[in-house]
């Protein structure tokens, strides 16, 4: 039995467990961003948690429709920036005032003024690396294997198609009822996604 805490963490990244019968979830296609936004709102109202929308571009208002809070990338970036600032300060102080002090024209071994440019550069560099690494970590990327890739229709998600995926791991998931709900919301087509556990490329 997988660790439930780990499962919850993975669910925030959009990584869900498939059921014993290999069903991963239901994938419904909607006609346009408006219909998708509406569907996401209704699916959330119906009490689902393990669902996600997939679209070629971010849709304004979708975070709110899905009931997602603020992204945590900002905190990770802040931590990265603080680490960069500390690293730069420590590096310049320790190398020039502690490890190998050299007296040049009687200038102080360490002073803040000439240290500012490198403090700034490393703060920005570390923040940027933290922002990207944090974004990938929170998204559970890279994720080369994803059962959604078995769907042929899903290949259009990066082109012009709008999908809503309800994972079978959701407590409220029921093959008949969930399918009915997605259909009532105006789905153009609904597909059962199975986790076949092999790579088909």
């Amino acid at each position: 039995m997988p660790n439930p805490l780990l499962q919850r963490l993975k669910a925030t990244m959009g990584i869900y467990e498939s059921r014993a019968d290999k069903v991963y979830g239901l994938l419904a296609e909607y006609a346009d961003p408006g219909a998708l936004l509406h569907a996401a709102q209704e699916v959330r109202k119906a009490g689902y948690k393990h669902f996600d929308t997939h679209s070629p571009f971010p849709i304004h208002g979708m975070d709110r429709a899905m009931g997602l809070g603020q992204s945590k990338v900002g905190y990770i970036t802040l931590a990265g920036g603080a680490l960069g600032l500390l690293t730069a300060t420590w590096l310049q102080w320790w190398t020039s005032a502690v490890d190998y002090p050299i007296n040049i024209s009687g200038k102080p071994f360490f002073a803040f003024e000439p240290s500012v440019p490198i403090m700034f550069e490393l703060t920005v560099l570390f923040s940027a690396i933290a922002a990207v690494a944090g974004m990938l970590a929170l998204n559970g990327l890279p994720r080369p294997y994803n059962p959604l890739f078995y769907s042929r229709r899903f290949a259009r998600v990066t082109d012009n198609a709008f999908f809503l995926h309800v994972a079978a791991s959701d407590a409220a998931f029921d093959m008949g009822q969930t399918r009915q709900l997605l259909e009532d919301l105006g789905a153009l087509g609904i597909e059962v996604i199975e986790d076949r556990e092999y790579s088909d490329i």
Binding site: A65, K107, E121, I201
Partner: protein, 485 residues
């Protein structure tokens, strides 16, 4: 934030300022945009591309030969010598770093200012940044003379137990330019992830699917992912903005922190940054005027985009021209004899020809963009963009060489002349730049597909509320969760 031009789909007859015409013309659908951009990475290699690549890679070969020749013989093969110790390599370095700045300005600063027109040009401009910074990093590296100990510029523990001198602007430069390169690379790659997903999903062959799939990191356009992605992208833009301003400021410290007349001025950081943006936009213009024509992207990169870039060239060109004049005023006002002579010598001395090339190219020519007709004339803007880059190269030449060739002691005055190695190395650096840029055009989506789709009116979920095109009509309306965006 408002969604763009919800009401305005028809081509507009307005004059472009009072009411903005649509950013993307031709009434393209999402799929047409995907096709239009992806196609160029998927088609057979065109003969024209191969020919251009042949020319560019010949330039690259020349560069490699020149570098080999330089390493074998030492930097005496260049024209640099006392008193002009910083010759073309440093001129070229500052020139190339400056070119890079427009890419970051377009991708980061215009993003923060919500200038949606940037979406059509940011990918190519960011690529240009990366390649220009690669060219820039090359020059100080080969200029150090003993290139095999270039690692001394990095804080690497070594057997001598020595550390870099952190109080030197030259070392700040190492950190500033390499941080700039890494952050620009991250920014560019993050922007590319969704489009790499598009290429993966369109791939016909297994090999192509594997390669694009590897770089797309398993992107599925999930909203849970978009949420973190957009936040990270915004933060990167916020970080890149002060970074780009700092990089050219630090480059200018290389000069300004010294006590050489003509270099030791506080105006250098802002003046260098304005000049960098000026030359960078000119380079973006040169590249995009060709690329949009060759690749048939006139609907994505419209005349409106080009005109806006010309306005920025006009503004930054005027700022640079203002800085030139301010320098003269301050030299006079300072009442420092050496400072006054340095500037008098610039404009009337042995290098007056270079000075007046700089003045006319940078101050005079962009002023024609006050005229709307010329601002929208493609041949005119193309020629001007090249003139501006010639002018900006000469600006760095004037600053570097004229200040050094006559300093405090008349007995050590001299005249700098480049050698054939100098000239061919500069030519070769263009070869490197264009080789990389052509590879980019061939293998990477040159326009940010996902971002362009996002500025179409159809991308707004509320576009479907009133238009009643059958999708949302029979459903209850969503309760309009318009985000702060």
């Amino acid at each position: 934030m408002d969604t763009v031009q919800t009401q305005d789909l028809a081509p507009h007859s307005g004059d472009g300022y009072h009411e903005d015409p649509p950013l993307i013309t031709g009434d393209l659908s999402f799929h047409e945009i995907t096709d239009l951009v992806s196609y160029h990475t998927e088609k057979r290699t065109p003969t024209g591309w191969l020919m251009a690549f042949g020319v560019a890679s010949t330039g690259l070969m020349i560069l490699l030969l020149m570098i080999a020749y330089l390493f074998w013989n030492g930097i005496g093969v260049w024209g640099n010598n006392v008193p002009v110790g910083w010759g073309w390599p440093i001129v070229n370095f500052v020139f190339w770093v400056g070119i890079g700045h427009a890419g970051t300005l377009i991708s980061a600063i215009l993003y923060l200012f919500r200038q949606k027109w940037r979406t059509s040009i940011n990918r190519a401009a960011e690529a240009m940044t990366l390649f220009a910074v690669i060219c820039a990093l090359l020059f100080p590296t080969i200029h150090v003379g003993r290139v095999w100990v270039i690692y001394w510029t990095l804080p690497v523990p070594n057997q001598m137990e020595m550390w870099p001198q952190f109080k030197s602007p030259l070392l700040w430069d190492v950190f500033a330019v390499s941080s700039y390169f890494l952050v620009s690379l991250l920014f560019w790659y993050v922007g590319l992830i969704p489009d790499l997903g598009t290429l993966r999903d369109r791939a016909r062959s297994a090999l192509r699917k594997r390669i694009t799939g590897f770089f797309a990191l398993g992107w599925t356009g999930a909203n849970r992912h978009w949420r973190n992605y957009e936040k990270a992208y915004l933060l990167l833009a916020g970080l890149a903005t002060p970074l780009v301003l700092s990089v050219h400021s630090v480059v200018s410290f290389d000069f300004a922190v010294s006590i050489v007349p003509g270099w030791h001025t506080t105006i250098f950081p802002p003046y260098f940054v304005a000049g960098a943006i000026f030359s960078g936009f000119a380079m973006v213009m040169t590249l995009l005027v060709i690329a949009r024509k060759v690749y048939g992207l006139e609907n994505l990169i419209t005349l409106q985009h080009l005109e806006k870039m010309n306005v920025i060239i006009l503004v930054t060109g005027t700022m640079v021209g203002f800085a030139y004049i301010t320098e003269f005023f301050i030299a006079w006002y300072s009442q420092v004899e050496y400072e006054q002579y340095a500037f008098l010598n610039r404009s009337t001395g042995p290098y007056a020809w270079a000075y007046w090339i700089m003045m006319s190219c940078n101050l005079l020519f962009p002023q024609f963009f006050w005229i709307k007709k010329l601002r929208r004339s493609i041949p005119f803007m193309f020629v001007t963009s090249i003139i501006v880059n010639i002018g900006m190269w000469f600006e760095r030449f004037v600053i570097t060489v004229t200040s050094l060739h006559r300093d405090y002691l008349p007995s050590s005055w001299g005249y700098f002349s480049p050698t054939w190695v100098d000239v061919l190395t500069l030519v070769g650096s263009f070869g490197l730049f264009f080789t990389l840029f052509l590879l980019f055009l061939r293998f990477v989506p040159m326009v940010a597909i996902a971002e362009v789709k996002n500025v179409l009116p159809q991308a707004d979920p509320h576009y479907y509320d009133d238009h009643g095109d059958g999708h949302a009509a029979h459903l209850p309306q969503p309760e309009a969760p318009r985000t702060q965006g």
